[in-house]
């Protein structure tokens, strides 16, 4: 695998994670539990879609063909490189917060290290995105603590969400030959080195929240970076891509 191809793959993964989670959070728009949270979820969604534009735009440039829009709207599920965690349905508010908590803890560590890598475009995007995900992590952590240490119902729902989503957490650290090609050139971050710090963040918040860390020995899904996804991604893309596919090149 050439360095160029590896970089393209790496940008797709980052861009697709942001795009898919951004789309999921946008589904909350107008459905938030309170006005303030509705706006907060939409803000986070817009941050993520902005990140997706950056990484997918750079991926298109590396490929020398198409645009960020082409990559977002003209690929099918098997060509998406996001982790399965971010495509999971919103569920209740606890589920949405736990999903963003798991992901933003990783994104925070990832972008922090990525900002120090060699490719100026990627490190620049990482530095900008780091500020955004730092806030997302804070927002979600604060909610997990309040939900976990809140009423019986909020505690139970949050514990359920942890159990439900836990088997998508190992995959956050999955790597392949694209990573290996880039890491040796200081063009990417070895995700496996982030595991310990990710665990520390998760454990600290769950402890404050009086929640129980799910059992690690269970079945763990993997394969998002190879285009393997749960059935939810297809439905998400059907909605997200409908307009540009039904009316190609339309303007609005």
């Amino acid at each position: 695998m050439t360095e160029q191809d590896a970089l393209f793959e790496y940008c797709l993964r980052l861009g697709d994670n942001s795009l898919v989670l951004g789309h999921r959070l946008s589904e909350w728009c107008g459905h938030g539990p309170i006005l303030e949270e509705d706006i907060a979820l939409a803000n986070m969604s817009l941050d993520l879609i902005g990140q997706a534009r950056g990484f997918l735009g750079y991926a298109a440039k590396l490929k020398g063909a198409g645009s960020d829009d082409d990559l977002a709207f003209k690929r099918d599920a098997r060509q998406f490189r996001n982790c399965m965690l971010v495509e999971q349905p919103n569920g209740d508010f606890a589920m949405t917060m736990v999903r963003s908590f798991f992901y933003s803890a990783l994104a925070y560590l990832h972008f922090k290290s990525l900002a120090k890598t060699k490719d100026a475009t990627i490190s620049g995007l990482a530095e900008k995105s780091l500020k955004e995900v730092t806030y997302h992590l804070r927002h979600c952590s604060d909610w997990i603590i309040r939900l976990g240490d809140g009423t019986d119902e909020s505690h139970e729902r949050t514990q359920n969400a942890l159990e439900e989503l836990w088997n998508y957490t190992n995959e956050l650290f999955e790597t392949d030959e694209a990573d290996q090609t880039l890491v040796s050139q200081n063009l990417a971050v070895d995700l496996k080195t982030l595991r310990k710090e990710w665990d520390d963040i998760i454990n600290k918040v769950l402890e404050d929240a009086t929640l129980k860390r799910p059992d690690d020995s269970r079945f763990m899904s993997k394969g998002g970076i190879k285009g393997i996804h749960t059935e939810h991604l297809g439905f998400l893309l059907a909605e997200m891509q409908f307009l540009p596919r039904a009316y190609p090149d339309t303007k609005w």
């Binding site: 539990p33 309170i34 303030e36 907060a40 349905p89 919103n90 804070r138 927002h139 604060d142």
Partner: protein, 107 residues
């Protein structure tokens, strides 16, 4: 969104339990904090996050204060006469008789 069906609100949880907080934002260094509006939040940390999301999402603020609305004491319409009218006819209280030196801003 069929996925959100489980989100039916529990009537036992009263959203009105949440306090109202007044939000003050500072637009530039050295400028005063100005009242921007209010948010609902269960505690001061969440009030700050909510204020940030509602009142500075388009880069309007450099600093934010949140204050429980109940901590603000306000004058009442009935106070208008005794509070403010006496200042009306004392033009000498305003430094209008000085010339502003050229080049001085923010007076």
């Amino acid at each position: 969104m069929p996925e959100n069906k489980s989100q039916i609100p529990n009537p036992e949880i009263q959203k009105s339990d949440w306090e109202t907080w007044e939000v003050f934002t500072q637009k530039k260094n050295g400028e005063p904090h100005e009242h921007a509006g209010s948010v609902k939040a269960p505690d001061k940390e969440m009030a700050l996050l909510n204020a940030r999301d509602v009142y500075s999402r388009r880069n309007e603020a450099l600093n934010i204060w949140v204050v429980p609305s109940g901590c603000i004491t306000s004058s009442t319409p009935g106070d208008v006469g005794s509070f403010f009218d006496p200042a009306n006819d004392k033009i000498y209280r305003s430094p209008n008789f000085y010339k502003t030196p050229t080049g001085v801003k923010q007076i």
